[in-house]
């Protein structure tokens, strides 16, 4: 039977609080970037307000969900909403992948063309990985074996454990659910730890930095934004874990869990692409 009423929520102050927080963060951030360290105050204040707002807003939504406000009609909305949000994230990454392809296929080869060799950059080879003709120092590019390969395995297996957790939820095996969800978070955390180690290694031993020409730019921005998304995903999984421990979710009504799982798989797929085109090829 079709649901009669769609849930239209009450007015709430959290959105404006969120905007204020973003505004404070931006103003502070811009001041810091331009060398006025007083900006840190505004930045920190903004972060605190944003966290508080997220806590309260999600708190409201969770309470409504557990209070049975959302039926199957609202559920479909959430599914569409999350899918399109992930699509927007895909396009965000597409922009940076585009920059990588452009550098590899167009700008670097172009800078080593005969004309450029003659007029501007004598001796520039234009072989990838390249930091460009104006970059004087030596650096070592990041290899695919070692940490990146281990990280691939970690993320892929975290996708498997997450699916096990989901099966546990669907079949009302809460112990299995909690265990595998916990394992997923642990795998994600190890991934992040290894990535931090990798970055430190790049900076200290390989002379590979964010400012290492276009190779460094694309490498750190792509893997960095990915790592940021893994962090967000891990935080969301942790919230879900606490909700599971508190007995939230039913075997047939747990979209919050699925949404986070979708997000996690999306992050997983981005990593595979990264592993292939950033580290490997």
């Amino acid at each position: 039977m079709r649901q009669e009423h769609y849930y239209v929520p009450q007015p709430m102050p959290w959105p404006i609080m969120g905007s204020t927080a973003l505004f404070l963060m931006i103003l502070g951030g811009v001041f810091v970037m331009n060398g006025a360290s007083a900006g840190w105050i505004s930045l920190a204040l903004g972060v605190v307000v944003l966290l508080y707002m997220l806590l309260r807003w999600f708190g409201d939504v969770i309470r409504e969900s557990e209070g049975g406000k959302y039926g199957s009609w609202e559920d479909v909305s959430f599914r569409w909403g999350m899918s399109w949000f992930i699509f927007s994230e895909v396009m965000f990454f597409a922009g940076f992948f585009g920059a990588l392809f452009w550098a590899r296929a167009m700008s670097v080869p172009d800078l080593s063309s005969l004309l450029h060799q003659e007029m501007l950059w004598p001796g520039f080879k234009g072989l990838w990985p390249s930091a460009g003709p104006g970059f004087a120092e030596e650096f070592t590019p990041m290899g695919a074996l070692g940490i990146p390969a281990i990280n691939t395995l970690l993320l892929l297996s975290s996708g498997v454990t997450l699916t096990y957790a989901h099966w546990g939820l669907v079949n009302n095996q809460r112990g299995k659910l909690n265990l595998f969800l916990f394992l997923t978070i642990v795998l994600g955390a190890i991934f992040l730890g290894l990535q931090i180690y990798e970055y430190a290694h790049a900076y200290s031993a390989l002379n590979l930095k964010l400012s290492t020409g276009v190779y460094g730019s694309t490498f750190f921005m792509l893997t960095g934004f990915h790592g940021f998304h893994v962090t967000l995903g891990a935080i969301m999984l942790t919230v879900i874990l606490f909700r599971c421990l508190a007995g939230h979710f039913k075997s047939d009504h747990h979209f919050a869990f699925e949404a986070v799982a979708w997000y996690w798989h999306f992050v997983d797929v981005v990593w595979l692409l990264l592993f292939i085109v950033v580290y490997w090829l």
Partner: protein, 527 residues
């Protein structure tokens, strides 16, 4: 002041703050639509004043009023504010007001996120304003924000970059909301192919927004890291490329022009049938033409870059693809004309603006076709011909469609009629002055006058004088619009439920005037 949970199936009980807090915390699609529309009108005025500063300086050759730096800041902020502050929010306002009513829904799918989409905007606008007061002032880089100029600007540029991020967040949230509302909240019986065309154009616009705004966010993020964190995306010495910026920007930028145009098409597709008293001609072909435009819009972006250096094969590809867009656009124009063919036409203000749109948008479309030819564009690129072209499609096309929509739905929104005679005055003044402003710019451009320049040789003087006179005339005429709207709201005649004989979508046939706060508590019964 936490959000009280309501214990009934739907809202309208419990927490209802009054005064300004009503507007700040509202989750009602009509309140939010109103906020969007007023915000957009204010931004239209602000951007308009900037346009007048530009036109004032260009009234005579030589430097008279502002220094070149400030002139550049004016063109940049005028472009950004008009595109992101005036036109886009105006149509989101329409979407908020109309989509739930048209498809028989109680509200938008995500009512609280809807509030956030709006309330980000004033903060983004504030960032743009603040940038004027930073050392070095607002960025003078043009609304396209090309590298490497953007990498060299002062801290106003950083504020602008983050303003673009906020605008992008707002658009993405708004779009997800619109898509979900249309896909999931239609009343039983309201099949996709029965929706008013306005809903279709917004569905597709929202898709374009979700697909392209993140790419723009990526582009300005790269600019930011190039500025402050040592990356070299747009720096050839580091292996990057300023042309890369242009590619990424226009991958967003060309769909963006359809993001502005498609909702305008949607409004016109509601207005023309109502005053022709005939259903829209070729509904299905309108839907597929809209989709076709959206798909093509992703593969034409480099027509903005013919002069930066591109292989001939690339130029040809983008040229043919661009010219191809004329086909679905032509289908639309044909259908609007065919809708009017043998209709019992009447020309109230909304219809006047819609017909004005039809003529002038088509004219802008034709100059677009001229510019799509790579060989021709190499002469015309960055001249006033381009300025004339995009103002015909955006400043005239989209703005006229917006006016048509406001006059058309004002009775339903406010329960009051506007003054028809004054409305007609507004139309005729606008259409005459805006053509005086922009038609001569074609000639200036063809003769070689570059855009984004505060000074010019004597030979362009006459055209610029005419254009400036037109611009001030147009600007002043818009105050008449403000007067018409305010006096309609305060003391207009009471409007009947269906003031327009030929209007047939749900907001006219199934709802009283003015529309109740929650349109459809339970879905209407449709046959």
């Amino acid at each position: 002041m936490s959000a009280v949970l309501d214990t009934h199936g739907h809202a309208d009980h419990g927490y209802h703050p009054g005064g300004i807090m009503r507007w700040i915390t509202t989750t009602n699609h009509k309140d939010i639509g109103t906020l969007y529309l007023w915000f957009s009108f204010i931004m239209f005025m602000v951007g308009g004043v900037m346009a007048l500063v530009i036109r004032l300086e260009l009234f005579s050759p030589g430097l008279q009023w502002v220094d070149p730096d400030f002139f550049n800041q004016m063109t940049t902020m005028h472009g950004l504010i008009m595109v992101f502050g005036a036109i886009m929010p105006a149509f989101v306002g329409f979407a908020n007001w109309l989509i739930p009513m048209m498809i028989g829904a109680p509200d938008m799918a995500f009512a609280r996120m809807n509030n956030w989409s709006f309330w980000i905007l004033p903060f983004a606008a504030a960032l743009l304003v603040i940038s004027f007061f930073t050392p070095g002032g607002a960025p003078g880089v043009g609304w396209t924000m090309y590298a490497p100029l953007t990498v060299q600007m002062g801290m106003g540029m950083d504020l602008t970059i983050f303003a673009v991020h906020l605008l992008g967040m707002s658009s993405i949230m708004g779009s997800i909301n619109i898509i979900t509302t249309i896909l999931n909240l239609r009343a039983p019986g309201m099949g996709l192919m029965r929706m008013p065309l306005f809903c279709w154009t917004w569905l597709i616009t929202a898709y374009l927004l979700v697909a392209t705004m993140p790419v723009l966010a990526g582009a300005v993020t790269m600019t930011l890291t190039d500025r402050h964190f040592g990356t070299t995306f747009f720096n050839a010495a580091g292996g990057g490329d300023p042309v890369l910026y242009q590619h990424i920007f226009w991958f967003f930028g060309h769909p963006e022009v359809y993001i502005i145009a498609l909702p305008a098409f949607g409004v016109v597709s509601q207005v023309i049938p109502a005053f022709a008293r005939k259903p829209l001609f070729g509904y299905a072909s309108m839907v597929s033409a809209t989709a076709g435009i959206a798909i093509l819009s992703f593969i034409v972006w480099a027509h903005h870059m013919y002069t930066v250096g591109m292989p001939v094969a690339g130029q040809l590809f983008f040229m043919y693809a661009t010219a191809l867009i004329a086909v679905p656009t032509g289908v639309k124009v044909f259908n609007w004309v065919a809708t009017m063919w043998k209709g019992s036409l009447s020309f109230e203000t909304p219809m006047l603006f819609a017909v004005g749109f039809l003529f002038l948008f088509t004219l802008g479309g034709f100059t677009g076709l001229v510019l799509s030819l790579a060989a021709v564009d190499i002469q015309l690129h960055d001249t006033y011909y381009v300025v004339a072209h995009f103002h015909y499609v955006m400043a005239i096309g989209a703005v006229f469609a917006g006016y048509a929509g406001v006059y058309f739905w004002l009775p339903k929104w406010t329960g009051r009629m506007y003054d028809e005679a004054l409305g007609k005055w507004h139309f005729w003044l606008s259409v005459i002055f805006i053509n005086i402003t922009f038609f001569v710019q074609h000639f200036a451009g063809l003769a070689g006058m570059p855009r984004r320049i505060p000074d010019y040789p004597m030979m362009f003087e006459v055209w610029n004088k005419i254009s400036s006179v037109g611009a001030f005339g147009f600007g002043i005429s818009q105050l008449l619009f403000l007067y018409i709207i305010v006096s309609a709201i305060r003391s207009g005649e009471k409007a009947p439920d269906k003031p327009w004989e030929g209007a047939d979508s749900l907001e006219w046939t199934h709802l009283p005037t003015p529309a109740p706060r929650h349109s459809f508590h339970t879905p209407p019964v449709l046959k």
